[in-house]
Subunit: 217 residues, 2 copies
DNA sequence: TCTGCCATGTAAGCCGTTACATGATTTT
DNA sequence: AAAATCATGTAACGGCTTACATGGCAGA
């Protein structure tokens, strides 16, 4: 999952470890607290060894876009061609972990880089998973309610509520996907840039996002 | 956390590992899938070595309460006096992990065995934690919304929604605690079986009126 | 009889953490 | 000059999972 997330972020822009961690925290902030360096750096090493990412010297001259806080780079990593392939594979491949809270979150975050078929598959898988949890909770609340104390019951009720809500959310997303819409009750027209649609053949990232991506003012 | 959960369940009734796992799954089902045996049995071993739990022969005669499916026990564990102390300690002690999803869930599950002061402390700590996450998400949605794609935004919105909802839930619980109420519409006083511990200063579950816990239609 | 669930355990390994060690650059 | 923050890394360890090994008991 971390591997997927790193490749995904580096596909947006070259970055060094420290920045990567911050991006990871904001983009996947819902799911996990920031990843620790003790995980991040060894993973970067591994990805480099595998050839999926490479170091990019950041000379003063190559500093075209004033991208980050630091103009003199430490070790800036960028994704390689093989890395892009790997990323695409990981995005499409689905296993049981894909439907975990974390796995689903990471995949979802990069949905704009996937084709609609994959998106639907993942959304439906996630829905199934959450529905199972929901059924489990319902059963407990229906069958074993009398041997549980008030607090435990309250917790289960709250959990059940969260499940029901997520299922409804997923249902909405699935409907939108089927009708070819991007999510978001967009504050300004149908999403900022481009609908991520256009799956068909290439499955590649449509133009989208002409923004320079900066981090702090 | 697992230690706390095991001691808590064994305080309700002696059980063998297999049953324990099932109980764990239903009582804490919201949080984690079932714990694996690879974790459970070594933990039981450790708890036994520490003296918190002991093996209890399950003769036909001691089978007073027909508790679960199996009447002929394999290795039945029961909590010791030291174990009860340990449990009380763990329940009252709060660290950062106490406010994690899992940590909070486990503590909450055993709230009927805690005094009100501890309950309030934990509920408020959890609220602070969730509020922090919420603020983080709000900030991202306010500040960085334009550099995130529609899917990522949608995920953040959904996360924010969940946070806001949980804060409201916690607020309600806190209010109830302060006014001396137990949650939920309990069907008959505090729990079916035993009336919880009686922890020193008799701050135990007060009468409480049946109150409708809104939240859903 | 044999399939399937109950039941207990061990071994290897993954994924991640904390704590530590180090140093450069910016801000006060 | 000191403090804060940026930045990179290593070592040790922790919790939990999977896969494996084993066996009793119930019902088809």
């Amino acid at each position: 999952m971390l591997e997927l997330a790193i490749l995904g972020l580096l596909q947006e822009a070259p970055m060094h470890g420290y920045e990567l961690r911050k991006e990871l925290a904001t983009k996947l902030g819902t799911l996990r607290a920031a990843i620790s360096y003790g995980t991040l750096y060894p993973t970067l090493k591994r990805l480099k060894l595998a050839g999926w990412i490479g170091e990019a010297e950041m000379t003063e001259t190559s500093d075209i876009i004033p991208p980050m806080t630091s103009k003199r780079g430490r070790v800036v990593y960028k994704i390689t061609a093989e890395g892009k392939e790997r990323f695409a594979d990981l995005l499409t491949q689905t296993g049981p972990e894909t439907y975990d809270d974390t796995g689903f979150g990471v995949h979802f975050t990069f949905f704009s880089r996937t084709d609609r078929a994959t998106r639907l598959r993942i959304l439906e898988g996630r829905r199934r998973r959450v529905e199972e949890r929901r059924e489990g909770l319902r059963e407990v609340l229906a069958r074993a309610a009398d041997r549980l104390d008030a607090y435990t019951l309250e917790l289960q009720r709250h959990g059940l509520d969260a499940c029901e809500r997520e299922v409804r959310w997923l249902e909405e997303l699935i409907t939108n996907e089927r009708s070819g819409q991007t999510p978001g009750r967009s504050r300004f027209g149908p999403a900022g840039a481009q609908p991520a649609a256009t799956p068909a053949a290439g499955s590649e990232t449509p133009p989208e996002q002409p923004r320079p991506h900066l981090d702090r003012p």
